[in-house]
């Protein structure tokens, strides 16, 4: 084995041991993302992002039961049965997004013919998107039932592949966001503090007293962070899929590839800070100054659609926006990497930029 390889492996092994023996780091990088994910998972399984439907079924026909069952089968709906007046009140308070009233004659036959009947829906004007979407779903169900009744041949049809649309919820939106956050924190905080501590204590200098170029130590540290990032991603995906029904629409390879590019960007930022700082006291303010705005303004917990235009334009270029957007497009919409040219270019530019800055700022002692 080549001596440089041997040195690199020895330093990687040492870095890995230091990492997993550091309880604080394990809590910070694995437990907190999982806890956050669970929190959002539980929140979104309740009221949260599901569309709240207040249902009043006045009919007792089999058709009406079929309709109710179909409604309940829509994952994005949270069905609450209530009387018409109660549901109307709840709609007025904004507790529900949509009120559905099934009339008494729904599915009844008059003189051997199906009776004409109208399902009434009322939606919250304040949340028109949910209302419209819910309406579409209901219209689809009713049309299906209608066809059955009239035995009308299906002449015109829409073949739709948007299976996901009905099922995707806030949780599917939040998981890539939390993963992006962990990638950023692992990159910036995970490396900046420990590296600067080794620099300040003289442990790094001791490595420089051996025949190994210290850049191998930087590579070893980066390798360990990369491994930890990938483990975090696997844990979040497994956990999210198993407990909260996370939907991965795209390719896992692409998803992990974006994770790797992401950690490269944020490790670069971490090493730039660690390389520049003399001790831990200089790291905290700078790391927070970079991390907090990114955390709040990159649309990882909520969409940036509500931002004023100028702020949206600025935050379009945030490295965390690129990473979380790309992860989301892959996970939620099944996008391939070639369908994300802006994200890919943006991340590439950031990788180059942060390493130029890191090399310029780096001081070994």
């Amino acid at each position: 084995m080549n001596q440089n390889t041997r040195s690199f492996l020895a330093l990687t092994k040492a870095s890995l041991k230091m990492y997993y023996r550091n309880k604080g780091a394990i809590i910070f990088t694995l437990l907190i993302p999982v806890a956050l994910l669970s929190m959002f998972g539980f929140l979104s399984s309740g009221r949260g992002p599901r569309i709240q439907v207040g249902l009043t079924n006045k009919a007792s026909t089999e058709m009406a039961q079929q309709f109710v069952a179909a409604l309940k089968g829509v994952e994005a709906f949270n069905i609450r049965e209530a009387t018409e007046t109660d549901a109307a009140k709840e709609l007025g308070k904004g507790d529900i997004d949509l009120q559905v009233i099934v009339p008494e004659n729904f599915g009844k036959t008059e003189d051997g013919k199906p009776a004409a009947s109208t399902i009434q829906t009322r939606f919250n004007k304040g949340r028109p998107q949910s209302g419209h979407m819910a309406n579409m779903v209901i219209i689809q169900i009713v049309t299906g039932l209608d066809k059955k009744l009239t035995n009308a041949p299906t002449v015109l049809d829409v073949k739709s592949e948007g299976v996901a649309v009905n099922n995707l919820g806030y949780f599917d939106f939040i998981l890539p966001g939390i993963l992006s956050m962990s990638i950023m924190q692992l990159g910036i905080f995970g490396v900046a503090f420990s590296f600067v501590a080794m620099k300040a204590s003289g442990a790094l200098r001791r490595i420089q007293a051996t025949p190994v170029h210290p850049v191998y130590f930087v590579l070893a540290q980066a390798t360990v962070r990369l491994l930890v990032t990938l483990s975090t991603a696997v844990i979040l995906l497994v956990f999210g899929t198993y407990f909260f029904g996370f939907h991965m629409m795209g390719s896992y390879v692409n998803f992990f590839l974006v994770c790797i590019i992401g950690i490269l960007i944020f490790l670069g930022i971490g090493f730039a800070i660690a390389g520049w700082a003399r001790d831990e006291t200089q790291v905290a303010p700078v790391a927070n100054l970079i991390q907090l705005p990114l955390l709040l303004l990159s649309g990882i917990f909520f969409s940036r659609d509500g931002f004023p235009t100028w702020l949206k334009t600025i935050t379009d270029y945030s490295p965390l926006t690129y990473v979380s957007h790309a992860l989301r497009k892959i996970a939620n919409e099944g996008a391939g990497l070639t369908e994300l040219p802006m994200d890919m270019i943006g991340m590439a530019v950031w990788v180059v930029l942060v390493y130029i800055i890191a090399v310029k700022l780096f001081r070994w002692e």
Partner: protein, 252 residues
């Protein structure tokens, strides 16, 4: 005895204009313990670091074991062992793991248990450095300088901050290393340490060597100048009292 290290007109000027080392020359013989004495700020550490290849040389030459430090700093580091003044190591690694890591960095094979036994730490193999006492830390630090079987080791103030027992214990360790044929160069503030360990000493002040000889010769030269101690030297010192009362046994 042939010289293993030849330092010629070595100078260090820092970018801020401080002239830390002002053209010093000396040589170290193979197998000897060579001491560099001097007050804080005299340039001892800077001198060592330039010789070790850890700090760029402003001017002058260093020839160590036939190699010019400036031209091949990595080759030099392969052949020497360096103990830094602040002996910090990676946290959360056990002594054996650290020794093996250092051995890998030199491409060396070691018997970690034997190496720890050589410095009296055979019982501490599974300990973390932070759980060692001051004297144990220094002995471990010396063990890490030995993983590559160096021709010469550099010890920068190895006994600073240790209690008298730990200090004496470290002297014995350094004497053993010397007896095995390794050349030692060390810096110290303690004259007693220098006279106990060093074959020759260089006294540095303000970036220059002001005297270089064996401890005995330096004392003779001083007396020849007509020096009279301003107090009568008692036949024993307070440290002798301390050791007599508390014993030589290590407390860590």
């Amino acid at each position: 005895m042939p010289a293993i290290l030849e330092v010629n007109n070595l100078t260090k000027t820092y970018p801020n204009g401080v002239n830390a080392v002002k053209g010093i020359s000396f040589s170290v013989n193979k197998g000897e313990v060579f001491g560099i004495l001097g007050p804080n700020g005299a340039g001892k550490t800077t001198t060592l670091e330039m010789i070790e290849g850890l700090r760029p040389i402003t001017s002058g030459t260093v020839l160590l074991d036939g190699i010019k430090t400036e031209e091949q700093p990595y080759l030099i580091k392969q052949r020497i062992g360096i103990q830094l003044q602040s002996s910090a190591f990676f946290q959360n690694l056990k002594l054996t793991e650290l020794l093996k890591m250092f051995a890998d960095l030199y491409g060396a094979q070691i018997d970690a248990a034997q190496l720890l036994a050589d410095v009296g730490l055979q019982d501490k193999a599974g300990f973390l450095v932070k759980n060692l006492s001051g004297g144990q830390k220094q002995r471990f630090s010396i063990a890490t300088t030995l993983v590559n079987k160096p021709v010469m080791i550099f010890l920068d103030e190895p006994t600073t901050g240790l209690d008298p027992q730990a200090r004496r214990n470290l002297w014995e360790l350094i004497a053993q290393i010397k007896n095995r044929g390794t050349t030692v160069i060390l810096t110290t503030h303690y004259m007693e340490e220098a006279s106990f360990l060093c074959n020759r000493v260089a006294i540095m002040d303000d970036g220059k060597i002001v005297a270089l000889d064996t401890p005995d010769q330096l004392i003779k030269q001083l007396l020849a100048k007509g020096f009279v101690p301003h107090t009568e030297v008692p036949p024993a010192t307070l440290e002798d009292v301390f050791i007599d009362l508390t014993g030589k046994t290590l407390r860590d």
